[in-house]
């Protein structure tokens, strides 16, 4: 594929350490998977890298700019990464700001506190998302049954299906609280994701499996780690504004992980 012409727009952006690692080093080519005014998604050797406009959510695989809208780009065109920059047709974005997308470590007591407080705060607000899931899926998730992956992975319309959001919320929280079922679900998701869901969603699931999420999600778990009800409440409100169902799906998965990590059926889960 021919390299794109030199970009005319040069801007800076913020991204996670993982993204910085992806864009560092010699030039590597990528392909535009999807393009919109708020986000351009690239396939970079099997992983998804996003170039984001100012209004887009700072996903852990994205470089967020302060552009009100991104230049028009067609799917299938060539892009590249090189020496700390992402280059899409017409635009080069140099990563200059690092965004912390990693979840904090949760002690057993914090996890139990978080499960109780988050359940109280969300009340019925997650019901619409729960209603989109197959019957029994949340029970399987709580039990750490790998069969839940088959039920949820790729479930739902859009680039990040709601089933994937729930799994991502569970995985990132499970990393934070050392959930006993984490190894089993993590490996099952890793094996199946590339076949059963979009490249973007598979990348976000891989990020979650390393303990990375959107900054609002990190803030939510910091609220748990510091037992700060105000931070938890404010972060929850911000999470519920993300996408149609994405934020709520992530919270639902997180709540399932927090709750099951401290139930009697999983002794020593959060030690």
């Amino acid at each position: 594929m021919p390299l794109p012409p030199p970009p005319t727009l040069h801007v800076v952006g913020s991204a996670s350490i993982w993204v910085l690692g992806q864009v560092a080093g010699p030039r590597r080519t990528a392909t535009v998977l999807h393009a919109g005014t708020d986000a351009v998604y690239l396939d970079l050797e099997g992983a998804c890298l996003a170039v984001l406009a100012a209004r887009a959510v700072q996903v852990p695989c994205g470089v967020r700019t302060l552009l009100p809208r991104l230049p028009e780009v067609e799917a299938g065109t060539a892009a590249s990464v090189h020496d700390g920059s992402v280059i899409v047709p017409g635009c080069e974005v140099l990563v200059t700001n690092i965004v912390d997308t990693t979840v904090p470590v949760l002690g057993a007591d914090d996890t139990a506190w978080g499960a109780e407080q988050l359940a109280t705060l969300v009340k019925e607000r997650l019901d619409p998302v729960s209603g989109l899931l197959p019957p029994g899926a949340l029970r399987l998730l709580a039990d750490g049954d790998a069969a839940v992956v088959e039920r949820l992975l790729g479930l739902g319309p859009g680039l990040t299906p709601v089933g994937d959001d729930v799994l991502a919320g569970w995985l990132a929280t499970a990393v934070a609280c050392r959930h006993p079922h984490l190894p089993r679900l993590r490996s099952t998701v890793a094996l199946a994701a590339s076949e059963r869901t979009s490249v973007l969603s598979a990348t976000l699931l891989a990020c979650a499996a390393r303990g990375e999420g959107v900054p609002e999600f990190r803030s939510l778990l910091i609220g748990v780690a510091t037992r700060n009800l105000d931070v938890l409440d404010q972060s929850l409100e911000l999470m519920l504004r993300i996408g149609d169902t994405s934020g709520a799906g992530l919270v639902l998965g997180s709540l399932a992980a927090l709750t099951s990590a401290t139930t009697p059926s999983t002794p020593g889960a959060a030690s």
Binding site: S14, L66, P68, N97, P215, S219, G223, T226, V231, L238
Partner: protein, 493 residues
């Protein structure tokens, strides 16, 4: 080291960085060292280099990322202690900033996670302000952007995002606010009250607050929105949000919107919006043919059933008329705007770096034949250096130059008091005024608008009296000061 006028000059470039306020403090500390005649430690921006050259320093090539240390000392032997004082002062500021054992937060968002704050105040170089402001909006917080030099398209983006999320962006270049009874940025100390102010103008807000305070009326909240908010490019986005906030505040009975000259279509739309609110709104929008801020304060007082007092003044009335031009040197952009509007009605065109119309723009020398007024707080004159309400160096240099110009008939100045401003502006300005009058060799009236209250840390009466003792005629009302200055030159025509 080279022999220069009045002593020996030394300039060195250091690969270091410190913010403008820190460097101002360093410069002042070093200037107090025995044997030091002048000290300027500043980042090597074009503006700072120009100032250094005007001060007689020969500066080697450098970039805005380099720190320039320029010293003028009495003898060569005074240089080593002066340089040691520079190093000591810089080291001390570094130590102060890391004295706490707690690891400081690395980002705006993580700082907000530590504190129960409803608002983030961003004060970083303008090129980096939008990132921090967006971080605060992402954390669900209102944001006050004190920084200037933020591109207007980034301001628009921030305000659009904030509006979509029900949040308020105050600024950029928002110098003054009072939120929850707490003054932010440059803020005067006034009694609490039931008047709320929405200000697309920092010093305009301060003038109004101080006039109301002098009339015994307190202010409950002042929400700055940045001087460009009522421009056609931004369209008053934050002004509307701020109005809605104050309208919903049961402690506010009356709202005043203060602005530099707005875009006409934005002003019309704002008038319509304000008419739909439950709380009465007075629009104090500066512009030719519109009431000045003192008249706006009088309208508010009338609406509250209060009489308009005789606005305070200090010093003997300046003797006039005098021949020559009116020259205004301002630290407050809105005060400069207001003075130009007042003066232009009687004197005709006024040249300025913030002109009322484009053809009246001054070049970078800030000098011209004819009447002129300079706003030293304008973005173009604050790159790499502190605001003139903190660092008066540029204005004092210009004051001496204009006083020596025989074409200058009257000097018009402003002084803005309050938290955040110079701790004692008269300490430097009053002697400069005395010197200017003495050195002029002709009658040179100096008229000053001194905006403040007696509760301010600097004390209005103390500052105004010091300036009056130096020979100035001092007014609390900027519009009255401008009219007096106009009378003095007009009488000779």
């Amino acid at each position: 080291m080279t022999a220069v006028r009045d002593g020996f000059g030394h300039v060195e470039i250091r690969s270091a960085y410190a913010d403008s306020v820190t460097l101002l403090q360093v410069s002042r500390q070093v200037a107090d060292v025995p044997g030091v005649l002048a000290a300027q430690v500043a980042m090597g921006t074009p503006l700072n280099l120009e100032v250094l050259e005007q001060m007689g320093f020969d500066v080697p090539p450098c970039t805005p990322n380099d720190m320039v240390v320029a010293l003028r000392v009495t003898t060569e032997g005074d240089l080593a202690p002066a340089l040691a004082a520079v190093t000591a002062a810089l080291t001390a500021t570094t130590r102060r900033s890391t004295g706490d054992d707690e690891v400081p937060p690395r980002t705006t968002r993580s700082a907000l996670l530590r504190a129960d704050a409803g608002l983030a105040l961003v004060s970083v170089p303008g090129a980096h302000a939008t990132v921090e402001a967006m971080d605060a909006l992402d954390a669900g917080r209102d944001v006050m952007v004190f920084s200037d030099n933020v591109p207007v398209e980034q301001e628009l983006l921030l305000k659009q995002v904030a509006t979509e999320r029900g949040l308020l962006v105050m600024g950029p270049d928002c110098g003054t606010a009072m939120v929850g009874g707490l003054g932010l940025g440059f803020a005067n100390v006034t009694e609490p009250g039931a008047v709320g102010i929405v200000a697309a103008s920092g010093t305009g807000c301060q003038q109004l607050m101080c006039l109301l305070a002098a009339a015994g009326v307190g202010v409950g909240a002042a929400l700055g929105v940045g001087g460009r908010d009522l421009s056609a490019a931004v369209g008053g986005l934050s002004t509307r949000t701020a109005l809605a906030r104050l309208d919903a505040d049961p402690s506010i009975d009356r709202i005043v919107v203060v602005s530099k000259p707005p875009a006409p279509e934005v002003a019309s739309a704002l008038e319509e919006y304000a008419a739909g609110l439950a709380t009465p709104v007075d629009l104090a929008l500066l512009g030719p043919g519109r009431p000045d801020l003192t008249a706006a304060a009088a309208s508010v007082l009338a609406a509250l059933g209060r009489p308009e007092p005789a606005w305070p003044r200090w010093g003997s009335p300046a003797a006039g008329p005098v021949s020559g031009y009116l020259r205004g040197l301002f630290v407050g952009g809105t005060l400069c705007d207001e003075a130009m509007i007042v003066a232009a009605e009687r004197l005709g065109p006024i040249r300025s770096n913030i002109p009322l119309s484009a053809e009246l723009a001054l070049d970078s020398s800030l000098t011209a034949e004819g009447h002129l007024m300079v706003d030293f707080g304008d973005d173009g004159l604050t790159q790499g250096r502190a605001h003139p309400m903190i660092d008066p160096t540029l204005r004092l240099e210009h004051l001496a130059r204009l006083a020596a110009d025989p074409a200058t008939g009257v000097l018009l100045l402003d002084v803005v008091l309050g938290h955040g401003a110079e701790p004692d502006p008269a300490a430097l300005l009053a002697p400069a005024v005395s010197r200017a009058i003495a050195a002029a060799g002709r009658p040179l009236p100096v008229v000053v608008a001194c905006v403040g209250t007696d509760h301010d840390p600097q004390g209005l009466t103390r500052q105004a009296s010091a300036l009056a003792a130096a020979g100035a005629e001092v007014h609390l009302s900027n519009a009255q000061a401008a009219r007096r200055a106009v009378e003095l030159v007009e009488g000779s025509r």
